[in-house]
Symmetry: C2
């Protein structure tokens, strides 16, 4: 898959012409942590800045993939070019999304206006924080109007999807946890749009009501601003999907209107630069000290012979001495 | 709350004598990222090595807090001293667990054989990866036989709980996602014990069966070893809790029997040393380059004038020049 020599410029040109194959190859380069990602980043930089990134997150089982697929249909009906980046940070060991997602997406597989890509998070060069913005840049350069980033909540991945997206949609489903659980999961602060999917199920009204109550309390604290809407969908039947898309567009318009249109892009850039710089430092640390040295230090700490701060100092000193 | 001068040795002595107040003050020092954590780590190191750490993780709504509370009761009935560390990595913005957990734990609040502590993950010095092992060390030194670490899945936090625990219990509930979702969430690889809570609900049999099927397939690939049991509980009614505790103890015994008794402790130490070393490097990076410099670089990257790798190089160069 690796591109040799001047193939890189050629790949970028073909991706910009809309070749799905070229896009896939470029994202593979990013995902594989190719040494040529640096050249690629430089080649892509001037062609980016158009795509809007919409993050979708929520616990397993809320119907993220189905909702994403329904949004793709809605965007295509509106003649917008769509990229989908399905990030699965929940499987660090097996390292990848299951076939299921791709199967559910298969209705869009032959649409030349849709690029779909699954990404694992365990990666090179700072993991998701570094690789996903690169992949987004590829999709941006390829002419996508909107890129949907689907990621599993809850936890760290939610922070990451916020760092990636211009607009963040948090999905919930009835009966998967009450209002307290939602607040506990920290989703109130990160959602630009709430989507209660599977809204034909029992408990949907209660879920919507609890969200609205929790938000009206949060609003009282934080003052005026964007009012996070709660949209009901039955994504599997296409119900409410246009309303969801309208809410996403409304948030985008609100941000632009309030002079905050490039916040998402800057946030992505900041996270990415830090992730790359930190990954370089980490590589330096690991390469110099070696995992055998770390294991020995860990053994001393585990045995109570050394405290972890002293061990960390020794690890860094070793890096500096040899570096 | 900060301890001055020789108070630190005094606090450690009082914590070892079983003072809940001293334990709380010591964990606060860790959580606040006090500069004295280094002295504290050195003071605690010789007194540790006894406690077994049991991690409990699962999606919001599966009943982690209720199960944890029921396990505390079971352990107390067995006359074991218990620490509870409720880690809530899902609320990085609000920074802490809600009152709910503590309310549910309140039956144990007056038991001198139980220490309960909630921790936020956004923290100093490497966040959870660095602070939680320190807090565990405090609870270990205070004479806990078992420390239960409760953390919200799914995602990064599951990896972290594995890094912390000797034995990891993954909780599921019927109807919150099928077998594919469980596999997707990467829990098969991290669970030492599966607990299907709310087992009186419809779908419990199906959840257990799907887990067992998925595991028997996984086993065929990975060969013989510990056979992850699936325990059914109705934690709110105390049902199955003794069986859950027995499964946890059996895993611990199996690890010791197979010469792997100190794996968890070494893993915690390794993660902690790396987290501290990396946090120090990160602090160096941030302090030298300053966030204004990073913002300027992010602006250039966002505007397509600079690629992120070049920006990361500049950030690191600034750190080296001034460092």
């Amino acid at each position: 898959m690796a591109a040799a020599g001047s193939d890189l410029d050629d790949l970028v040109t073909r991706a910009r012409d809309g070749s799905a194959r070229a896009v896939a190859q470029l994202i593979s380069l990013v995902e594989d942590g190719s040494p040529r990602v640096r050249d690629l980043a430089a080649a892509l930089a001037p062609h980016t800045g158009h795509a809007v990134v919409v993050g979708l997150t929520g616990s397993p089982g809320v119907g993220k993939s189905t909702t994403t697929s329904a949004l793709v249909s809605a965007l295509r009906a509106d003649d917008r070019r769509v990229g989908v980046l399905a990030v699965d940070p929940s499987s660090p060991f097996s390292g990848g999304a299951l076939l299921g997602d791709r199967v559910r997406m298969s209705e869009h597989a032959t649409d030349p206006g849709v690029f779909i890509r699954s990404m694992a998070t365990r990666g090179h060069l700072g993991g998701l924080a570094a690789a996903a913005p690169q992949a987004l840049r590829v999709l941006d350069a390829a002419g996508c109007d909107v890129v949907l980033v689907e990621t599993v909540g809850v936890g760290q991945s939610e922070v990451e999807v916020v760092a990636l997206a211009d607009t963040t949609v948090v999905l919930l489903a009835p009966g998967m946890g009450d209002g307290i659980q939602a607040a506990k999961a920290g989703v109130l602060e990160i959602a630009d749009v709430f989507c209660v999917n599977k809204a034909d199920r029992e408990g949907a009204d209660a879920t919507v009501r609890e969200l609205q109550n929790a938000m009206s309390m949060a609003r009282r604290e934080s003052g005026p601003g964007w009012r996070t809407p709660v949209v009901r969908t039955v994504a599997s039947a296409g119900q409410g999907v246009d309303e969801l898309m309208a809410a996403v567009d409304a948030h985008r318009a609100w941000m632009v209107e309030h002079g905050r249109g490039d916040e998402g892009r800057r946030r992505r850039a900041r996270a990415e630069i830090e992730a790359i710089a930190l990954a370089d430092l980490r590589a330096q640390l690991r390469a110099v000290s070696g995992s055998a040295a770390l294991d020995a230090l860990a053994g001393e700490v585990a045995g109570g012979e050394l405290d972890p701060f002293a061990a960390a100092d020794r690890l860094r000193e070793a890096a500096v001495d040899d570096g």
